[in-house]
Symmetry: C2
Subunit: 356 residues, 2 copies
């Protein structure tokens, strides 16, 4: 056909949350791949590993012993990127001039074990077991909100060695900082501008648009409280966003039903991911929500979770965001609608359980 088709022709899509563009080249999926391969699935892990510093009862690098925890367990990172206690930074002449600008950053880093079992991930955990993780995030977020010098809480998980994770024991992190980091700051700015122009919340409007469009081409799964969507502007091949359908600014504002619904949708998308290539699917995920800086963020934040998974074609071939992506702009191969379609066709029963 002589018509322009998103599945055939190169185009750029706009990300209104970060105000940036992504190049989509769908015909590129036909390209043969002779480059680097990730290692395939590692041998099965034990439920308890005596050498793991996250398993219950084991001793950590700093000599402390983990309790015999039954659900989740949170503790301060032994190698934190930011610390509570450091000398005050005094801006000097040079730094104020403009080309060499710098400020000190205080903060706290915490680790959150998701489960005592060394060999589980969210994808294989039950909703009932994920709920304590959600509650732990809420507790940590609320605790940090009380700390004077902390203004932002970044909750995230790196899953899999392809995503820089150095311990398979299911865990996430929380980096809490004096400043609001770049990405959330960008989103807050864009959402505030959107509200000024449209008198509405960008993500309320977007969640509604995606869940009411005929055929829902980018929706992977949903429940009463949340939708899991491959964003129209997704960068990573199978990137998704879990977005609250109602206007909620942080995990702290979730009622009991919404907390359960969050556990529900997290399990379902993580399980679909594992099933896509029948492997423990690597990703980084992170929660964007209101900063804890004491300001009213009702107008410029809306709770959502990004999943950035690197795999493209199989358990061993990932997408590299390198030369053009770093120097020019992000480029993706398959369309977001194709990715959503693939994820929709995956089961919500984990492949390991299917085989039994």
């Amino acid at each position: 056909s002589d018509e322009f088709q998103f599945t055939q022709h190169s185009h750029r899509r706009y990300n209104p949350l970060t105000k940036s563009w992504v190049l989509c080249s769908p015909h590129r999926t036909q390209r043969p791949w002779q480059g680097a391969q990730e290692s395939a699935n590692a041998p099965a892990l034990p439920e308890y590993d005596p050498k793991c510093y996250l398993c219950p009862g084991n001793t950590r690098a700093n000599g402390e012993t983990n309790p015999a925890y039954k659900t989740t367990y949170a503790f301060p990172n032994d190698f934190p990127a930011v610390k509570a206690d450091q000398p005050e930074f005094k801006e000097d002449e040079e730094s104020a001039k403009g080309l060499l600008r710098v400020t000190g950053v205080r903060g706290q880093c915490h680790v959150i074990c998701f489960s005592p079992a060394h060999n589980l991930t969210i994808a294989e955990m039950s909703e009932q077991d994920i709920l304590p993780v959600v509650r732990q995030w809420i507790k940590c977020y609320e605790d940090m909100a009380k700390v004077d010098y902390i203004n932002h809480v970044q909750i995230f998980e790196n899953k899999g060695s392809a995503m820089g994770c150095s311990n398979p024991h299911p865990h996430g992190q929380m980096w809490c900082t004096e400043d609001v980091p770049e990405e959330p700051a960008k989103e807050i700015k864009a959402m505030a501008e959107y509200r000024q122009q449209n008198n509405a919340c960008l993500l309320c409007d977007y969640a509604k648009l995606e869940t009411t469009t005929q055929g829902k081409p980018r929706v992977v799964c949903e429940n009463d409280s949340f939708a899991c969507i491959v964003p129209f502007w997704a960068v990573w091949p199978f990137e998704t966003m879990v977005v609250s359908k109602r206007h909620v600014t942080s995990v702290s504002k979730l009622d009991d039903v919404q907390q359960k619904d969050l556990a529900n949708i997290l399990r379902r998308i993580a399980c679909r991911y594992d099933n896509l290539f029948q492997c423990s699917f690597p990703y980084s995920m992170g929660i964007h929500q209101a900063p804890v800086d004491g300001q009213d963020h009702n107008g410029d934040t809306h709770l959502h979770i990004h999943f950035y998974p690197p795999l493209l074609r199989s358990a061993t071939v990932k997408k590299f965001l390198v030369g053009f992506e770093m120097m020019g702009e992000p480029q993706r191969d398959l369309t977001p609608e194709q990715a959503a379609d693939r994820l929709r066709s995956c089961s919500e029963v984990h492949y390991k359980k299917q085989q039994k």
Copy 2:
């Protein structure tokens, strides 16, 4: 000491080119690493590989035969991300509304072989052999400037399988697009604003500042025309920027001496990189210069080359820009000054030649 020290305490540095921040946590280099390891050096490669689609005289995927080229060789990418020929994109209702914005993108993708030798890289090539690469970039840039629908030329190289490169034969790429991609667009905007405020070029000022600061703590090497600097705001552990000392907007404006000086500094930084961990040092590099959109970019562009190398501690341990970096903001471990110091202490004679 109770003083704030950049080598001890967490801080944020500002990138005036992209108007964004990077978190620097220098004490984090002490953290043990139990995560993914890159594979160590592959066995030595032959000078000619009959199965390589880039070697002289070999046949490519599309059936064409490469000439018996002696220096460089440029040809259209057989799997281009953008194409010259596709149906016109007509903006529809939905797309104009704001949340699902999209445009078509035409363009051309070219591959540039740097050398007929399968087993060389810039790091081991001589200045005389790199000069034709510089001239090839100039030729391609000028050719593309004449193409009506092309407004930007992104020259880049992905070196090493860690950077998504699927063929070790030394080569780079050129993706030429209808639009000016995100990264150069951001830089152009920031440089235009800087000029308005300071009546000067941001990178002229920055190159001068770095090359005249006492002790030049971030300068790796320099010649009459170029300086190679670890930027004050570097993200990747050993990131560098090669910047023209004089105000030059594109490779097309380089005179003979500057062309030779560019070949000189490229060889020297690439060689230092290989020597740092005694391996073929992976990186993505890319040239930022004036778009070819027919507008006057003298005020808002200044030729510079970014090197983004992933290795952190050794030939096998890289820095992962994952969870916090993706969801929050880029984070680095060693300071840019420490990185520059390490690179300055590397020889400009390639380690393979030293061993002989």
